[in-house]
Amino acid sequence: MTSRLLMTLQVVVPPPQKLGAVPQGTRVIAPITGGTFEGPRLRGKVLPGGGDWTLLRSDGVLELDLRITLETDDGASIGMSSFGIRHGPPEVLAALARGESVDPARYYFRTAPRFETSAPPYAFLNRLIAIASGDRRPGGPIYTIEEIL
């Protein structure tokens, strides 16, 4: 699969809202209060107000459903949403749950971000398919986002 770096995105996540067992699984909502992104073609900050609506399924896979707004350093707004999957060995997931740092190679954390913007300099984002590799850190995840060529 051919790709090139789109950006690295780090979001800041305060303590999550644990909704517990819902019909589809265990729901945890992680508000996103800020963050930064940087890549060869765009950079800026994450606006507060978004979040990640995570669902732990019965098969132990965590589904991620993120929606945030990016603001570039030249003032453009970009809507970003992503669907993702995270799973791994029980001891690794337990360490993550305790807020420890874990080598991201030890678990599977991949997402598929989509973007929308009205700003012409960034309209290329409306037209691409992307895949991200996630690294769950205690303060919030870091995503390396690749454009699929």
Binding site: S3, P40, R41, I129, S133, D135, T144
Partner: protein, 191 residues
């Protein structure tokens, strides 16, 4: 991307090389599992399967609030990969939407039946766009080199069978090719 019109803005000529380098190095610092070398990334993936879809004549619904809607019923097809193979059951479809920026959005739902009778529900969302002459040729039902247009999808799967449960746990990317008799998707599992 295949055509220059789809390339994002090049960094302005002063783009500080330092920034580009910084961005290229960042993933390594972030501990990502993909190797980044000289700005190019080796995304780890492996072939999942090639899906060939046969379709009935499209239902052209025309202009709707979100764009131009065309529904393509799926009548059958087959799929084959190292870990699974079988046929596509009739009854699914692809709900296409041509947006105002000339990007075609795909929204497919089909059911796969493996050669050992497991059912796998497959959906994808995707994008297709390219130079006007290539898109026009596709519209006329001609064969066009898929390198001339961008046709990428994000397939997702659901199954209750243990043998194929790995499909429930992966992120995948498809590279599509539009042919006169249907579409062919080469799908890779992202590792």
């Amino acid at each position: 991307m295949p055509d220059s019109e789809n390339e994002g803005p090049r960094p302005p000529s002063g783009v500080r090389r330092r920034d580009v380098l910084k961005a290229a190095v960042a993933p390594v610092l972030a501990g990502a599992t993909w190797a980044v070398k000289g700005g190019e990334t080796v995304m780890n993936s492996r072939p999942l399967m090639t899906v060939r879809i046969t379709a009935a004549p499209p239902q052209k619904l025309g202009t709707v609030p979100h764009g131009t809607r065309t529904v393509v019923p799926v009548t059958g097809g087959d799929f084959e990969g190292p870990r699974l193979r079988g046929k596509i059951l009739p009854g699914g479809g692809d709900w296409l939407l041509l947006r105002s920026d000339d990007v075609l959005e795909l929204d497919l739902r089909i059911t796969l039946e493996t050669d050992d009778q497991a059912l796998v529900y497959m959906t994808f969302q995707g994008l297709r766009h390219g130079p006007p002459d290539a898109i026009a040729a596709l519209g006329r039902g001609e064969v066009v080199d898929p390198a001339r247009y961008y046709f990428r999808t994000l397939p997702r799967f659901e199954t209750s069978t243990e043998k194929y449960a790995f499909l429930n746990r992966i992120v995948a990317v498809g590279v599509g090719e539009a042919r006169p008799d249907g579409a062919v998707h080469r799908i890779d599992e992202i590792l």
